[in-house]
């Protein structure tokens, strides 16, 4: 019997450590499928962040490097500029990308580095145990804001796509979600575009993916999915914020 739906070659056949109901596993698979479909796996270098996805260097079946917290875009810049034939992606969470690594995020976009960033926004610090993230919603409790994020004390959630959309160098920005089958399909399309752009030398591409963290949200898997749809989406609307067709083009 032929196996029709097999594991993409871009994933190593190991057990992942992610919690039930987490979105990371889904996004990992999408990236792996895209690497296979574009035939780029052997020339791809991925960057694992600090955070829940730190072990992604064991999961993706391509060359991987794990670096300091938030510095993925700088590492990606170093790799891409010295090996322009490589396809380089940086996989980052919200604390990594939008808090400690914000400068690297903005400046790699401003330089329009020809790299791909996959940004998982689950509005919480996962690996360290549920602290407030730069993307935590107002009123959302976290272990460092137990009564909920208060704008007066903690400020407002950062909308990464909207922020980066101001930059000419940001060639492709899209926000999707993996909270539904439809969302997963759309996310894959966006991830593919973000890699395709790099293959074509179009410059900085980032996909922000709204994802579930039921463990640190104190919910079950189903409630987690609902939280993305009902609470996160109104604050973080899905859509394309910048596209290569808009302006620019070849770098």
């Amino acid at each position: 019997m032929e196996l029709v739906n097999k594991k993409p070659s871009g994933l190593v056949d190991v057990k992942m450590h992610y919690c039930p109901g987490c979105g990371h596993g889904i996004v990992h698979r999408l990236i792996a499928e895209v690497m296979d479909e574009l035939g780029i796996r052997e020339r791809t270098v991925g960057i694992a962040p600090v955070g829940c996805a730190v072990f992604a260097d064991d999961y993706f079946n391509c060359d991987m490097i794990q670096g300091p917290h938030g510095r993925g875009p700088a590492i990606a810049t170093g790799i891409k500029r010295s090996q322009p034939d490589c396809i380089v992606f940086s996989y980052q969470g919200d604390g990594d990308l939008a808090s400690i690594g914000m400068a690297e995020t903005i400046h790699s976009a401003a330089r329009s580095e020809n790299i791909t960033i996959i940004f998982i926004n689950n509005a919480i610090y996962g690996m360290t145990g549920g602290q407030m993230a730069p993307t935590t919603l107002l009123g959302q409790p976290a272990s460092t804001c137990p009564t909920g994020r208060d704008a007066k004390v903690n400020g407002y959630p950062i909308k990464v796509c909207e922020l980066l959309a101001q930059l000419e160098g940001a060639r492709y920005l899209e926000r999707t979600s993996v909270s539904s089958a439809q969302g997963v399909i759309k996310t894959k399309r966006a991830v593919k575009k973000a890699f395709q752009n790099q293959v074509e030398g179009k410059g900085f591409s980032l996909v922000e993916i709204l994802s579930m963290c039921p463990t640190n949200w104190g919910m079950n898997s189903l409630q987690g999915v609902k939280f993305v749809d009902e609470k996160m989406m109104p604050i973080y609307p899905l859509g394309v914020f910048r596209s290569t067709e808009q302006e620019g083009g070849q770098r």
Binding site: R43, C62, Q66, P68, I75, A76, G78, A103
Partner: protein
């Protein structure tokens, strides 16, 4: 090669790196090292390499981390506060066993300090620098010529041992102009062997991972022990130093970098007056020439350390000598001494050690332990453990090299 060119230290440093095969530089402006990125910004593209002005030192070192992981020769440079910012990234490079090369053109500190020369970053450089258990190979040039010729040495050592190597310079060495002769054939990066750990182009091989972590029980300790073994090897094999007028010296000046030039000037003044002064200059600050200094201290009983910091370098000298000789210190933290100034100290000290000659005779009768009697009690306070150390030095004798590697 073979031609002398008048260059600024910072430019010689940059050119030396390019000639040694560097094809990637990322950095951030800071005085007094700005000539390095400025030079690289046109020179590297000319040589087919990449120059990036990063948004911060933090970003610059991480660009380097990525570029070095692809197996090419890379460089970054900065000055004190900027090097502090780079230390996390340097620690990652050490943890991931990546050979990187960087230079610290030291300025006054702490904090923003000033923009003049200083040696205040000695401890940071030789004791690891960032977090965790590691060392960086540290070369300390004392001329523009060495600024130009040391990058190649750094690359070779960094690659041989898969670890960061650095040049510890200062504002004077960076800013002054002197003739430089690049004493090596320019390295064509195409002729360098691609290391078997480098990332990119995985066709036909298994995936590779560059990382500095290992959460498996006991594995990190194993890794650190392996590194400790490597560090020991480096301490045994790679020490470089320079000695001048040592043979008949009664007093030996110990200094590195710019201080060693000043000390050399003071030595000349002393010799002109018939004062028997020598100079011992470590070229590698890590590995530190411990055995060589200890050996020297078997004969010479008076040392004067000259450093442009509060007394950081002197600690390593005293550790090496282990209380078997008197080690005095002339320190100028964020100040630059003149030759005359150091000579005045030498002259005074030399007078005070004359009675030590009498002690020396006693020393011949009795074993060395009673020889270190002079006034200053500080470095020789604890005599008992010293005996043991003397024994240790003797066992280490075998490995002691006769001359410097320079």
């Amino acid at each position: 090669m073979g031609e002398k060119i008048l260059m600024k230290g910072n430019e010689a440093l940059a050119e030396g790196a390019v000639l040694a095969g560097c094809r990637f530089f990322s950095g951030y402006p800071i005085t007094p090292q700005n000539e390095v990125p400025e030079y690289m910004s046109w020179r590297l593209p000319e040589a087919g390499g990449t120059f990036i002005q990063a948004e911060s030192e933090v970003s610059a070192i991480n660009m380097l981390y990525g570029a070095a992981a692809t197996g090419i020769r890379t460089m970054t440079s900065s000055s004190s506060p900027g090097i502090s910012l780079k230390q996390e990234g340097i620690s990652y490079c050490a943890g991931a066993d990546l050979p990187i090369f960087f230079a610290n053109v030291v300025r006054g500190g702490p904090g923003l300090g000033n923009i003049a020369a200083s040696q205040g970053d000695y401890n940071q450089s030789v004791k690891g620098g960032g977090h965790g258990d590691y060392h960086t190979i540290v070369l300390a040039p004392n001329s523009v010529d060495e600024m130009g010729n040391f990058p190649k040495k750094c690359y070779e050592l960094a690659e041989k041992y898969r670890m960061p190597a650095m040049i510890l310079a200062d504002g004077i060495l960076g800013q002054m102009m002197e003739p430089v002769e690049f004493k090596f054939q320019p390295v064509d990066p195409a002729n360098l062997k691609k290391p078997d750990w480098s990332l990119g182009n995985a066709a036909g091989r298994k995936k590779r991972i560059v990382r500095s972590y290992d959460l498996r029980e006991g594995e990190l300790e194993k890794m650190n022990w392996a590194r400790a073994k490597k560090f020991q090897e480096i301490e045994d094999r790679e020490v470089q130093f320079e000695e001048k007028n040592i043979n008949d010296a009664q007093l030996v000046l110990v200094a590195y970098g710019t201080s060693s030039r000043i000390a050399a000037a003071a030595m000349k003044m002393a010799r002109d007056k018939g004062i028997k002064v020598g100079l011992f200059r470590p070229i590698t600050l890590w590995p530190f020439p411990k055995k060589q200094l200890a050996k020297l201290a078997q004969r010479v009983k008076n040392f004067l350390v000259v450093e442009m910091s509060q007394g950081q370098f002197v600690d390593d000298v005293r550790l090496a000598i282990g209380g078997t000789a008197q080690v005095d210190l002339y320190a100028r933290p964020a100040g630059i001494p003149s030759g005359e100034e150091v000579f005045a100290v030498v002259e005074k000290l030399y007078q005070s050690i004359k009675p030590a000659k009498a002690v020396k005779k006693v020393e011949k009768v009795k074993p060395a332990k009673k020889a270190k009697s002079p006034k200053k009690a500080k470095p020789t306070r604890k005599l008992k453990p010293v005996k043991k150390k003397t024994v240790k030095i003797k066992t280490a004798k075998k490995a002691t090299r006769k001359g410097g590697r320079r």
